[in-house]
Each structure stands twice: as C-alpha cells, then as structure tokens.
Point group: C2
DNA sequence: ACCGCAAAAGTGAACGTTCAATTGAACGTT
DNA sequence: AACGTTCAATTGAACGTTCACTTTTGCGGT
C-alpha cells in the first residue's frame, strides 16, 4: 500500500508539463507563466511532493549541510555554542551534522575522516584535542572551515575573545581587591585558550610586582574544564602553604568544582577565598555565591563563525583571518577584599 | 589546479578494471580475486579516493543519517542525551543531524518539516513542545522515530523512566525524613514528564495522609526547567504561609535555582529547607550543598532509543513500544530531618 | 506579411554510485 | 569431449535532480 514518495516526474505528469518546468517552479528559476506555475503548484500540493535533497545534492554538488565538530557537547560552553551555530545555520537554510569528539583524539580523527568524505559543505570546529593534526588535515583535504577557540597558524579563520587580555582582567580584578596570593587553575595544557588565559594571569601578576604564582595544570584531556578537575585542583591548592586568598579558574565549571573543595575545607567564599571563573555559563549566576567571571559572547561568536563559513563557502577568501570579539568582566558575590 | 576529487571511474581506470569491480571492493560485496582487490586498493590509496556518500545515498535510498530533535540542547539533560545518541549512532555507522527546537513551537514545526524532506533515515525525539502535533505529523509522514521523555498514544516507541514512581520516591524520601509540608516545583505543564512527576508527588502525599500540597506550575515553555524558573518558583513558595520545610523540584536546574532563592531569603539548606531535584546532572554533585536527586540513566536511555530506532529502520516492528528504564534515588547533603 | 526576439517550455545528458542481469573463464564430473 | 557449476568481472540501467541547449510559442515593429 505504502504510497511511494512522489518524484518530480509524478508532479510533471499530473500537471501535464515537463520535469524541467517543475524544477523551475520549485526553485524559482527560469521564467514560467503564471498559469502553468499554478497548475504545477496544485499538483505539488495534491501529491504532497517534496524535492529530494539527496538527488538535488547529487546534481548541485552541495549538500547545504555544515559539520559541527565540538570537543564535548556536555560542556555548557559548547552546548551554548552548538545552539547558536545550529540556529545561525538554520537561518541560512543549512542543517548541522553533529560530531561530538568527547575529548578523545581517536574520535576527533574519526570525525575529521568522516567530514572528509564530503558530506558537509563546511565545518565549524569548536576547540580541538589535537590542534596540529586537525589543522594539517583540514589543509590537506581542503575542507572549508572556521575555528572557535582554537587558533590557526595558517589560513583558517578563527573566532575568539582576547583570552590573554581576559585572563589579565580577571586576575587584575583580584589584585585590585588587595589579593597578593592568587592561584590559577589552568585548563587543558596543550590548548591555546588555556595557554592564553595563563599568560594573562602571569602578566597581571608581573605588572603588579606579585611574586606568588601558583598554577595547577590539568593534563588529562578527558577531565579538563569540568567540575571534577576544578575540585581536584582546588584541593591541591589548599594543601599548599601559604595558601592562596584568591583563585582564578580557567572555566566556570572548574570554578564551581573549586567551590566544593573550598566549602569542604571549612572555608568561606568570598570571605576566606575569592574565586573568579571564565565563560559566564548560566550556572555561574546561580552558584552559591554567584560567581564573578569573564563573560564570553558565545552567541555572537557562533554567529560570526557561521557567517564567515558561509562567506568561505561562497568562494570568498576570508579578509580577516582572526575575529576577536569583546568579553566582559561580570562581578558577582564570589570575590571580595582580601582577608587581613 | 585544485585536483578534482577522484571518483570510482578514476580508480577503475587506474586499476584497469570496471567501475563495478571497484564498488565491490569498496563494499566488500561480490567475489573479487585477491589480485585485483590489491590492485584496486592500491589505486584507491594512490588517488586518495573516498566514496561519495551522496551518490551512494542516491542509489541505495538511505543516508545513514539520523535526526536528533531536541527541545533545548543547552539543557544539560538534553546535552548528555545528545552526546549519547551521537555516540551510539556513530558506533553504528550513522551520523546525526541536530535539530534544536530552542523551546519554540515554531522551530519544532520547521524541524519536523525539514525532517520530512527525507534527508534522515530516522529520528530520535527528545521531548516535544507540541506533543500532539508532533505525533500526528510523524504518523502522517511515516517518519521512523523513537521518543525519549515524551510518551506516545500510538505506535511510536518510547524510552523513559517511570516518572510517576520516581516522583513518588523523591517525595517519600522527604516524608521519611519527617517533613509534613512538602512543595513541588513542577516542570512545563503540558509535558508528560511534568505531569507524571507531579502525579508521583501527589500520590506519595496521599499515601502518607499529608494534606499540605503546594505546587508551582510553570507555564512559559521557554522558561521551564531552568535555573531562572526554579528561582522564581521558590521565591513564590517562600512567600506562602506556612512555608514548606521541603521542596521537590522536577529538575536539578530548577532545584539549583531554588537554592539561590532560599539562600537569598537567609535560610539554610538543608537545616531550614530540604531540596530534592530530578535528573542528577553533573552540577548536582557540585552544588552547595550537593543535591539529593533522582538519577536518570541518560546514556542507557539514549543507547536504547538508538538501538530501537535501528531495529525500526531495519524493517522490524517494535515488539515493545514502551521501554522503562530504572532510576535511582541519590541522597546527598540537600536533604535532612525536618526542623522541629 | 515577414522578420526578429524574448518568453515559455521541452530534451537529453550528467552527477557517482549500486543493482540486476550477463558474459567469460576455470574446473571438475560423467 | 560435452556439460553444468561456480567464481570473477563486465555491462547497462536506474536513483531524482539540475544544467546547458534546443524548440516552440507569442508578439510587436517595419
């Protein structure tokens, strides 16, 4: 019984015109008399015809699909970016194929391999486990792509905030509150954004003549950036002597993980220890106390990335290869004057 | 210059065989002598040939793509499910197209419309803004699909936990701690899971002869389930007199939002008010205090959904249409004996 | 009347793959 | 030596569109 899905041929037959005419009506190309257009449209409606995207892609050699290669979709930062990418893509008639790397180099390789099959017209990459390899692969396979939070040496356009500056501002905020012993919980060590935020932290300390520098590096990629690693890092910091009066964490999730360690140690935020995060995820405002953090314009970043990618796919070379968007320090209740 | 991507024809020419032979080698079908297979493989390697997925789909009439229609990817529950769906799909050689509904009926309709174009072989739906319409559409367009957290009256397979029972267990946990005034922050009212969790709450009260019943319903879909709505709901509850000594929130996000309202009111958790959440998202364990909650087996749910969908796409009718997976009460520091 | 020209519609091929049918060769059996 | 069977490989068509051309129609100007 199951009525086979109708094709253009069926529509053409019913409307008494050629297949090509139907195609023109559907795509709004060529010139069609109003009379026949009506007939065709009625036929389309009657059969509930929908053009086959596969056949169309076959012919046009483009799929109107973009890939979204994301380090870890369960990370709130990434899921917010994913939402915005999907939204921007949708607004431009593109669909999104989700490649979730799950923090695994293996999965990243597989995903890139899958992308190289040519199913997608372009690729948005949100961070990367193995940056060098990824960039090499993109170049070799000539995959049109745009990076978010993962800078390129070559010609792949990148969207980021100025992470060095942001790290500087976050740290300086603590310094201005009188803190002299400020620690830093760094993100995954090989990642550019970790390095840049760390660099900003260091520069701020240096510019203000502070010599106390304590950094916890996180090495296991699969643990990085999340609650658990922030928790473990903070415990490590609390064992140090003298212990810091303030901490700048490279992500909000790690900051909130650090909260846990601080509270467990019987210390109070911000009376005993001030905490600054990074990202301003939704949970930051609802943490106890609300988290002071650096707000990244994730939606704008994603929109900008998609816009750039669309331009690239349109054949235009990117004019500017590095798009820097503004961040913002959001002061909440997790930071206060340094204790005496 | 840009070397056009090679096709089977190129491989065939180089290897000195027919196109069909190449096809057989690539797909491992038919019988090919080891000698020619070697030759073909070498040619494939030399040209860096990759089969064109579009052309393949054109012929086979299947895309090895599944759609993931998700209410709101920024919701941690949904992003965890998305991760698991993508992972399970990947493991079975499928790719995932992400349709993010963003809590909007409009977007849900558009996404379903897009799915109906026939790009995907099947669809996983994680909750729905307009359940009735969605189910009707699926039936009309004969879209193979599986639901998560969104029950069907008809024949669409569904994966869920027993939300009534879970709501009951969560409430009973509070009752056992001696609480007599227990409020409930409900999720989006039209959603099945909201209704079921509420039902469980009510039954537990009834079974234990408690008459204090206070429910905050959230109506605006775009606000539901998140921190902000939990916060607002809790403020409302705190204005009531007598105020509850315990709250069961229909999601962890709302529970954590409620935390904020409780702390702002100068009350302590759990000494003054106990809180139970639902879902056991990662943040629950790192909240201050750690949140007692109902753990849902999201990864299993997603895996089960994908497995069912694959079976469906394989032409097998679903044997069981409702898959109920086990939940678990996780007791943490947000619940304690009722104050005197 | 005739020509020219634009608008409207049609035709056949092509996109890269797989399917169904077929050929050719190799080999053992009677 | 003729025959059937299996294995190896080939051939031509088809999947549903769109593209590049061609044909037909209609219409105004000289």
């Amino acid at each position: 019984m199951a009525a086979k899905t109708p094709t253009m041929k069926d529509v053409a037959r019913l409307a008494g015109v050629s297949v090509q005419t139907v195609s023109c009506v559907v795509n709004g190309t060529g010139s069609i008399s109003t009379r026949t257009r009506q007939r065709v449209l009625r036929a389309i409606d009657e059969l509930n015809y929908r053009p086959d995207p596969i056949a169309r892609s076959m012919r046009t050699r483009q799929t109107r699909l973009i890939g979204l290669l994301v380090l870890d979709i369960t990370n709130p930062v990434h899921s917010v970016i994913a939402e915005a990418v999907e939204s921007a893509a949708h607004a431009n008639g593109y669909k999104v194929i989700l490649y979730n790397v799950s923090n695994s180099p293996e999965r990243e390789r597989e995903s890139l391999e899958a992308v190289a099959e040519g199913l997608v017209d372009g690729l948005v990459i949100v961070n990367s486990v193995d940056r060098e390899r990824t960039l090499r692969f993109l170049a070799e396979e000539e995959i049109l792509s745009v990076l978010i939070d993962c800078q390129s040496d070559f010609s792949v356009p990148t969207v980021m905030v100025d992470n060095v500056r942001a790290g500087y501002v976050a740290t300086e905020h603590l310094i201005r509150l009188g803190h002299r012993r400020i620690a830093h919980i760094s993100g995954s060590a090989p990642m550019i954004i970790s390095q840049q935020r760390l660099e900003g932290y260091r520069r701020a300390l240096a510019d203000h003549g502070l010599t106390y520098e304590r950094v916890v590096y996180l090495m296991k990629a699969s643990w990085d950036w999340d609650f658990a690693s922030g928790y473990r890092a903070m415990r490590e910091l609390l064992e140090g002597d003298p212990r810091p009066t303030a901490v700048f964490a490279a992500s909000d999730q790690m900051a909130i993980g650090a909260y846990r360690a601080i509270v467990e140690a019987g210390l109070r935020i911000p009376q005993d220890i001030s905490v600054v995060g990074f990202d301003d995820i939704e949970a930051a405002a609802y943490a106890t106390p609300p988290l002071t953090t650096i707000r990244q314009p994730f939606t704008d970043m994603a929109a900008s990335a998609v816009a750039t990618l669309l331009r690239l796919m349109d054949g235009q070379r990117a004019e500017e290869t590095l798009h820097i968007l503004p961040f913002e320090l959001v002061v909440r209740g997790s930071t206060a004057e340094a204790p005496q």
